[in-house]
């Protein structure tokens, strides 16, 4: 990493780093308002969920043909975004790429929030959520559903550990410095910091554990999105019956996750005034990373659509024509162009990798990623294998109902709430690691 542009010399001291990072956690007025807003959204939409619970899934737009609708599309999207944790803090971390230091915790927070709610979305999609344990009790080893449940719980666990373990030194600092924190929080800092005072032995031991988890999460991360793709690819349906679905989903996940991370970086930088830590360099690098993963994703899209489009075999042809110039064309091409191709073209230009432009581009990429999942799930459901006729009109179309949309909004609000709360109680930029990477001496008192 010698070709890095030299970072601007900042005369940071350990005290200043501590103050800069810890200060906004306790003294940010907008934050409380934002939390109240999110809780209001969640309660209002929770009422929609209550109706669904009371009256059953009939209140959604899902019928016999489209039994996987908005919820599952959203689930796939959440799983995708959560993969950024593995990409940034694990893969790049293991490669010892140093510019990720200040943003790795944000990546991990995003991962935990999204994967936790992804699991919840599945429960929200159940007509009888009280029977959710049956998936475990009666699950068949042959069913991708069981694998998916297993791998999501595992990913959530390891992601949470990868959030907490590298944070232990910082938590020890929080314990000392955040004197105004509530007693519960103090207790939490006390327990989670595990008596860490940065002795060489502790340092070595901690980093060994972290390294182990970093290696471990690579196969789990690959598995979580590959298995999610198998939920589709293990069927014979047109549009899902493809061998590249696993890597295709993983590539798409890197795109969605990177975009989400850039957006989050921008908001933390602005709201927490972290310009000295999340610098233009990080945005520039993330921009390049986003181009790279977008290119990989583009390559997969080429394979996924060009090859079957060349052959147009029976069954596939109906599906593909619907996507290329039928009812789904606008959504399909918008997600490809606005969510992938145009961002690539823009982001190769250095000017667009400045914080604000890249954040706006990332919003498009993220929205494109969401619609892409929608286009993957629903059109295929609309083409059942057996010709069935004289079915009710609402079987052959799918429009999410207001209830469904509200519950989906709820899941988004919940993700944002989790991210907000985590960033309120934990330092979003690693204090100790930042100091160490700048060669500043770290002191943690017992």
């Amino acid at each position: 990493m010698n070709d890095l542009p030299k970072q601007k010399e900042t005369n940071l001291s350990f005290e200043k780093i501590k103050k800069d990072i810890l200060h906004p956690m306790q003294n940010h007025k907008g934050l409380e308002l934002w939390i109240v807003f999110l809780i209001t959204v969640i309660s209002v939409c929770g009422w929609a969920y209550y109706i669904q619970l009371k009256d059953g899934l009939g209140v959604t737009g899902m019928r016999d043909y489209v039994s996987w609708g908005l919820y599952i599309a959203n689930f796939v999207f959440f799983v995708a975004v959560s993969l950024v944790g593995m990409l940034i803090s694990s893969i790049l971390g293991l490669l010892r790429i140093d510019w990720i230091t200040p943003i790795s915790r944000i990546a991990e927070i995003i991962a935990v929030a999204f994967v936790a709610v992804a699991g919840l979305v599945i429960v929200l999609d159940m007509g009888r959520p009280d029977r959710v344990l049956n998936v475990m009790i009666h699950g068949r080893f042959q069913s991708p559903i069981l694998w998916d449940v297993t791998v999501i719980t595992t990913y959530l666990t390891v992601s949470a550990l990868l959030l907490i373990l590298p944070m232990i030194p910082d938590l020890a600092i929080c314990k000392k410095e955040l004197t105004k924190a509530s007693p519960i929080m103090k207790k939490l800092y006390n327990i989670l910091s595990l008596g860490y005072i940065n002795t060489p032995a502790q340092h070595k031991h901690l980093h060994k554990m972290i390294r182990t988890l970093m290696v471990l999460i690579v196969p789990i991360g690959l598995a979580i999105h590959t298995v999610t793709s198998w939920l589709f690819a293990a069927t014979l349906r047109n549009g899902w019956d493809t061998t590249i679905f696993g890597p295709y989903f993983v590539a798409g996940a890197f795109v969605a996750g990177s975009a989400a991370l850039i957006i989050a970086m921008y908001f933390f930088r602005v709201n927490y005034k972290l310009q000295d830590y999340i610098t233009d360099l990080q945005f520039d690098k993330m921009g390049k990373l986003l181009v790279a993963v977008c290119l990989v994703y583009l390559y997969f899209n080429l394979n996924e659509f060009l090859v079957p489009g060349y052959k147009m075999k029976t069954g596939d042809d109906i599906h593909l024509k619907e996507l290329f110039y039928g009812n789904w064309a606008i959504m399909f091409w918008a997600s490809q162009l606005l969510g992938n191709i145009i961002p690539i073209i823009l982001l190769v230009n250095k000017k667009f990798r400045k914080p604000l432009p890249i954040m706006i581009i990332s919003l498009f990429v993220l929205a494109g990623a969401w619609f892409k999942r929608y286009v993957i799930v629903i059109p295929t459901m609309l083409h059942p294998h057996l010709p069935i006729q004289n079915v009710p009109e609402n079987f052959v179309h799918y429009y999410p109902s207001a209830i469904e949309i509200s519950v989906t909004v709820l899941s988004f609000a919940l993700v944002l709430l989790i991210i907000t709360v985590l960033s309120k109680i934990f330092p979003v930029v690693p204090i100790v690691e930042t100091a160490e990477s700048k060669g500043i001496e770290v002191k943690i008192e017992a």
């Binding site: 080893f141 042959q142 297993t150 373990l165 595990l194 031991h205 196969p219 006729q389």
Partner: protein, 306 residues
């Protein structure tokens, strides 16, 4: 000259307009479709299978041909498909209409096979008075009878089956009923298999004999469930006889759920998939627990000075 042109244009418009109004209610059958001929001959076998299909698929709406007892649907009631003014249409025209449907008339293009539809048309044609080569299904007049009985005789050695249909006349004499179609049905996993053969009509003494297929699988003992009935309930009501007969080929049933397979129950999952899943979960989670366990050591290490 100008006026003539105008008049012609006006006439043309009126013509087109009125034509479209008429068409909106009637059927439009392309000329090419009208030309189609029924590729199946009007044999008694075909007519009889057409009748069976008709009774299942069409009767509920159209009623019995020539009886005009159709369902009174609005706005357009189903046609009496045995009526002469319907049967003036060509085979192809009827075939097209059955395929495409209109209003309450369902489209049968994909739900009934072409062969079956032609059979139905052959059946409907048997009511056509103008048909040149009319299939003469011998008109038989049975005396009025009560207490109709269906008896069944099974010969297991040569795998034949004899059904006898009889009734008691007003004079108190039991006589055979002639010319009645019988159905010999064997129960299979999904529905019944018709083994009635070419000519399952009772003879003058009320008998009909059929040859049971030599290669039909039965259960372990070769037993199958037979259902023998008078095909058309219209004559003597629902008259049927059920019996377990040992005419099938003894077969050990294979239940596909008994073997280890992808589609099996959890207990019958393929070994490799159980090993992969359980092995993977154990491997990953033991590392996780190892790390969790290591966390406990961290506070103690605060005291050691190295």
């Amino acid at each position: 000259m100008k006026n003539t042109m105008k008049n012609i244009a006006a006439l043309f418009l009126i013509f087109v307009f009125s034509g479209s109004v008429v068409n909106a209610q009637g059927w439009t059958v392309p000329a090419s479709a009208k030309k189609k001929q029924n590729p199946y001959e009007a044999t008694s076998k075909n007519i009889s299978s057409g009748k069976k299909i008709y009774n299942i698929q069409c009767k509920s709406c159209h009623g019995d041909p020539t009886m005009a007892n159709m369902l009174p649907l609005a706005p357009v009631a189903p046609t009496d498909l045995g009526a002469q003014n319907f049967l003036i249409q060509s085979d192809g025209e009827i075939f097209y209409k059955v395929n495409k449907g209109q209003g309450a008339m369902p489209a049968f293009e994909k739900t009934i096979s072409d062969e079956d539809k032609w059979m139905v048309i052959a059946f409907l044609r048997s009511f056509d008075k103008n048909k040149k080569v009319k299939q003469q299904v011998a008109e038989v007049k049975n005396p009025e009878v009560t207490d109709v009985k269906l008896e069944l005789n099974v010969n297991e050695a040569d795998k034949t089956m004899l059904a006898k249909l009889s009734g008691v006349t007003k004079k108190g004499k039991r006589v055979g009923l002639q010319g009645i179609e019988m159905s010999f049905l064997v129960k299979r996993s999904f529905g019944y298999l018709d083994v009635s053969g070419e000519d399952p009509y009772t003879n003058e003494s009320g008998d009909v004999q059929i040859q049971f297929p030599k290669d039909l699988p039965g259960d372990r003992e070769g037993q199958v469930n037979m259902l023998v009935k008078v095909t058309d309930d219209a004559f003597y009501g629902n008259l049927e006889e059920k019996r377990v007969v040992t005419l099938g080929v003894p077969t050990d049933p294979v239940n596909p759920l008994d073997e280890r397979a992808m589609w099996g129950t959890r207990a019958n999952a393929p070994i490799w998939i159980i090993v992969t899943f359980v092995g993977g979960v154990l491997a990953i989670w033991s590392v996780i627990f190892l790390v969790l366990f290591q966390m406990i050591k961290l506070p103690k290490l605060a005291k050691s000075k190295d």
